[in-house]
């Protein structure tokens, strides 16, 4: 065909709309990139400054000279203890609460109260959680200053995000699946266990990711409830005190003098790597779950 088709040729209006569409797209892309830039810069600086200090012995050796020298074996171990503890507490509780709120709760004053409480809990500053942890876990429940008390505090702090993420993903499972189940005589719990939960794994993993991020990174809630600046022994049980990476970073970068230049960067780099590694695993899982989803 050599003639120009008049029929499907774009009108001036369409060309204008197209321009707007391209503009909006570029703008949105720019904003998205803008958000990535700080993250990449931080990571870049940490890698450049901190990577030379990394070595196997740095990761496993205990700190020496109050932390100004030696490795970060004990803080790293402590952070893993605290994170695991927080996860073990927050995930089951959070998922259970989310299941109740999404699948069982009717819309009454109790439910509304719980929802308001969750939203407010999410907004409480971490230092307030810390003080609550001191009062509730260290003193009232007599856990003392310990991994247990610190993990409990971290768990309370991360519960709201776990609950909200899980509840959203439960509610994203189409109603039709539930009705299909009920219509064949399944109880609510059978429906949840066989159909709803298997299809909301991605939301639960999102909750887990958010939980890990906060548990690994927070300093305030643990420094009054279980973490200490220095300790010469690895924790033997959950009733021991422990060192932690975040607190160690605070220590080497603000409390000590005569610290080698690269040390804080190396500690921070390890902190980020721990978060990325844990989250990377969860994200990989989540992608597999989402890839399987077909509706």
């Amino acid at each position: 065909m050599t003639t120009i088709d008049p029929m499907f040729v774009a009108t001036p209006l369409e060309k204008r709309n197209h321009t707007i569409q391209q503009l909006v797209r570029t703008l949105l892309l720019a904003v998205a990139l803008l958000l990535v830039v700080p993250a990449l810069l931080i990571l870049g600086v940490l890698v450049v400054e901190g990577a030379p200090g990394l070595s196997w012995s740095f990761l496993v050796d205990p700190p020496r000279s109050n932390g100004a020298a030696g490795g970060i074996g004990l803080p790293l171990l402590g952070t893993l203890w605290l994170t695991a503890g927080a996860l073990l507490l927050a995930l089951p509780l959070g998922v259970a609460a989310a299941i109740y709120l999404s699948e069982y709760a009717r819309d009454n004053w109790l439910t509304r109260t719980i929802n308001v409480a969750i939203v407010n809990l999410a907004g409480v500053p971490s230092i307030v959680h810390a003080l609550f942890g001191v009062g509730a876990f260290v003193h009232f429940l007599h856990f003392g200053k310990s991994i247990l008390a610190a993990s409990c505090t971290l768990a309370v702090m991360t519960l709201p995000v776990v609950i909200v993420a899980t509840r959203e993903s439960l509610q994203a499972v189409p109603k039709a699946f539930r009705e299909a189940c009920w219509s064949m005589g399944a109880t609510r719990w059978q429906t949840i266990w066989r159909v709803v939960l298997p299809n909301s794994g991605s939301g639960i993993l999102t909750g887990l990711i958010l939980c890990v991020c906060r548990a690994v990174g927070e300093t305030a809630p643990i420094m009054f409830t279980g973490a200490v600046f220095l300790r010469s022994m690895a924790p033997q049980s959950v009733f021991d005190k422990t060192m932690a990476l975040s607190l160690h970073l605070f220590n080497v970068s603000t409390q000590l003098t005569d610290v080698p230049h690269h040390l804080p960067f190396s500690v921070a780099l390890v902190l980020i790597i721990v978060v990325l590694a844990l989250n990377g695993t969860a994200i990989a899982f989540r992608m597999r779950l989402r890839g399987r989803k077909k509706w």
Binding site: M1, I4, D5, M7, F8, V9, A10, T11, P12, L13, E14, R16, N17
Partner: protein
């Protein structure tokens, strides 16, 4: 199977009445690596209803969706071959996807009115393609004529500002047809438009489709043999991504040329 309600009169139309509504030449289509359409050649005449039948998964929806380029959004679809609408290549480099979709309207299996007032639903497409604000009177006239054309006006004229999603399914589907009309399309594609409807609603929508015949060229996918038989002029039978038979509806149902066609029509597989 439902009895014939009332056999529609088929007005004999002169052949070669203007250009073909849709002309498909040697169309192959792949979803990723999976080939869904094989060497499809098809000529859909103007102003009549053509039914597209065949077992599930044979590529009816795929063929339909190729005709207004809505498959492209998926991103992993490759197409070779040519589709012309009223003689114009819709995949030509200078052809705009937007204009193609405006000329070739589509009705989906489940009624999908937008969660807007009835009036805004009818005007939605029109406003997309119309620069500046048109006068209220102009819009009113468009809404009325579109809704009259789909036989909905008397039922909804007093509640044009109500959400379209509150209508019954039948009314919703008619509204979905009505909202295509203000942009003056030439071809209407319908993908099992009645399969979410009850028999009475099906008959009503079928009547409507039959009424629109003449003003629009209609290509309709259906699983309902009775519907294909009573409400189409020509029939296309597809199997595994290929067009097996294309003939006048009466011929196909009375004397199918191919063994597969008669097997399918008589319900021996499907």
């Amino acid at each position: 199977m439902a009895e014939f309600t009332h056999p529609r009169t088929r007005i004999a139309r002169p052949a070669n009445d203007g250009p073909l509504a849709i002309e498909v030449q040697d169309l192959n289509l792949w979803y990723g690596k999976f080939q869904a359409l094989f060497e499809v050649d098809l000529q859909i005449k103007s102003g009549i209803v053509t039914a597209l039948i065949g077992p599930s998964g044979c590529g009816k929806s795929t063929l339909l969706r190729s005709c207004n380029r809505i498959n492209e959004r998926l991103g992993y679809v490759t197409t070779t071959g040519m589709i012309r609408v009223l003689g114009h290549d819709i995949y030509a480099p200078e052809a705009s996807r937007i204009q193609v979709r405006r000329q070739v309207g589509m009705v989906f299996q489940r009624p999908n009115p937008l969660p807007l007032p009835i009036r805004d639903n009818v005007l939605f497409g029109y406003r997309l393609h119309h620069a500046g604000r048109s006068s209220r009177g102009e819009e009113d006239a468009l809404v009325e004529s579109a809704l009259r054309e789909v036989l909905l006006w008397d039922r909804v004229k007093d509640r044009l500002h109500q959400k379209a999603t509150t209508l019954s399914l039948e009314e919703q589907q008619k509204l979905c047809i009505a909202r295509l009309l203000p942009t003056k399309p030439t071809v209407l594609l319908m993908d099992e438009p009645c399969s979410a409807l009850d028999p009475a609603a099906t008959a009503a929508v079928e009547d409507l489709i039959w009424d629109l015949r003449g003003n629009y060229s209609i290509l309709i996918v259906t699983h309902n043999m009775a519907q294909a038989r009573r409400a189409s002029d020509e029939c296309v039978f597809m199997l595994m991504g290929r067009v097996v038979e294309h003939s006048a509806t009466e011929d196909m149902f009375v004397a199918p040329q191919r063994r597969e066609t008669s097997d399918y029509i008589e319900g021996r597989f499907g």
